[in-house]
């Protein structure tokens, strides 16, 4: 099999999922539409969930995820290693989210502690969303990727294309700022 041979020429041991992914990407390169559908089904949940957590808007998250798929398939020629497609498209999606966050204006109104006091899960979620909205795009995205998506420092660094040291520093700043807002909201 040509596809198998192509994949097995790479050195090292990789998981079945990544090899399967490489096969699908290879088929997409050959113009196989069924493979396109399979790849979309494979990654849609993760992309939409992450975009939703960063943007805090379900509809916008779906828009961004769709845009990420479109961009990833358009720029497939830039992907050197087919096994890295998952991180490739995830990176595109996060970058699109950050771009959208930057385009949005910061909320001008000051925090109103009386309205933001968390007393239940929904109120807590609303409070978190309002506090996250106060953070700059980079800090907010770093915090979400680390806390909600549970990525490691290295993974966050890879996705955001910055050094690990920068992730560590951003995360520290984000937590400190979030903590200050959190305390203000709970007083």
């Amino acid at each position: 099999m040509e596809v198998t041979a192509k994949v097995s020429t790479h050195q090292g041991v990789y998981s079945d999922a990544r090899i399967e992914e490489a096969k699908l990407v290879y088929r997409i390169r050959q113009g196989d539409d069924m493979a396109l559908r399979q790849v979309i089904d494979r990654h849609r949940v993760r992309l939409i969930r992450t975009a939703c957590n960063i943007l805090r808007d379900a509809m916008e998250a779906e828009d961004v995820a769709q845009e990420a798929f479109l961009k990833a398939f358009r720029e497939l020629h830039r992907l050197r290693d087919d096994r890295a497609f998952a991180s490739f498209i995830y990176r595109i999606c996060v970058r699109l989210c950050v771009d959208r966050l930057r385009l949005k204006r910061a909320e001008p109104s000051a925090l109103e502690p009386a309205d933001l006091t968390p007393s239940g899960s929904i109120e807590n979620r609303v409070l978190i969303e309002k506090l996250l909205a106060k953070l700059p795009a980079d800090l907010r995205t770093t915090l979400v990727l680390r806390e909600m998506e549970q990525l490691s420092y290295e993974e966050v660094a890879q996705v955001m294309e910055v050094p690990v040291g920068t992730v560590r520093s951003r995360l520290h700043t984000a937590r400190e700022r979030f903590r200050a807002l959190w305390i203000a909201a709970n007083e």
Binding site: I48, M148, W182
Partner: protein, 158 residues
């Protein structure tokens, strides 16, 4: 009482400890400091609560049922659009240059093959004089063919 530096160091290391990237010495420092410093212990609790709150606010939206089909349609339409042959500027320029060179070569070859023939004379049809048919000067129609008026204005004097 701890120095401000020790508390600052504790808080920085505390955040890093979540990833398990700390050395055993740093971990020992964290353990000793948290037992002795009430403020930093309180900070620990705050950070833990905050992290738990952020995690609990994670959304689990997976997209609508039509998302996959809609995305596939968009991607396929985009692919189809990109497959449509369009002349890129460089190819369009090259094609124009080839056509221009071909036209010049054709003109040159045509002029080289032409044989001049001095024998003979130019044929030109003679102009046929058409007299104006006007009975009297007063009935002359101003909107009549101006070419006649210019060619033979004599009827006015008749």
């Amino acid at each position: 009482m701890f120095s401000r530096y020790a508390c600052k160091r504790y808080r920085r290391l505390r955040l890093d400890s979540e990833d398990g990237v700390l050395s055993s010495r740093a971990l020992r420092f964290l353990a000793v400091h948290s037992q002795a410093c009430g403020e930093c212990l309180f900070y620990d609790v705050e950070i833990s609560d905050m992290s738990a709150a952020i995690r609990s606010a994670a959304l689990e939206h997976e997209g609508g049922p039509e998302f996959g089909a809609a995305t596939l349609r968009v991607v396929l339409a985009d692919r189809q659009k990109r497959r449509t042959p369009t002349l890129k500027p460089i190819f369009a320029g090259a094609a124009t240059a080839v056509i221009a060179v071909g036209a010049i070569l054709q003109l040159l070859s045509a002029s080289l093959n032409t044989t001049a023939s001095p024998i003979g004379e130019a044929q030109r049809p003679l102009r046929q004089d058409i007299p104006l048919e006007i009975d009297m000067p007063g009935t002359f129609n101003l909107f009549d063919t101006p070419s006649r008026m210019v060619r033979d204005p004599k009827p006015f004097d008749a």
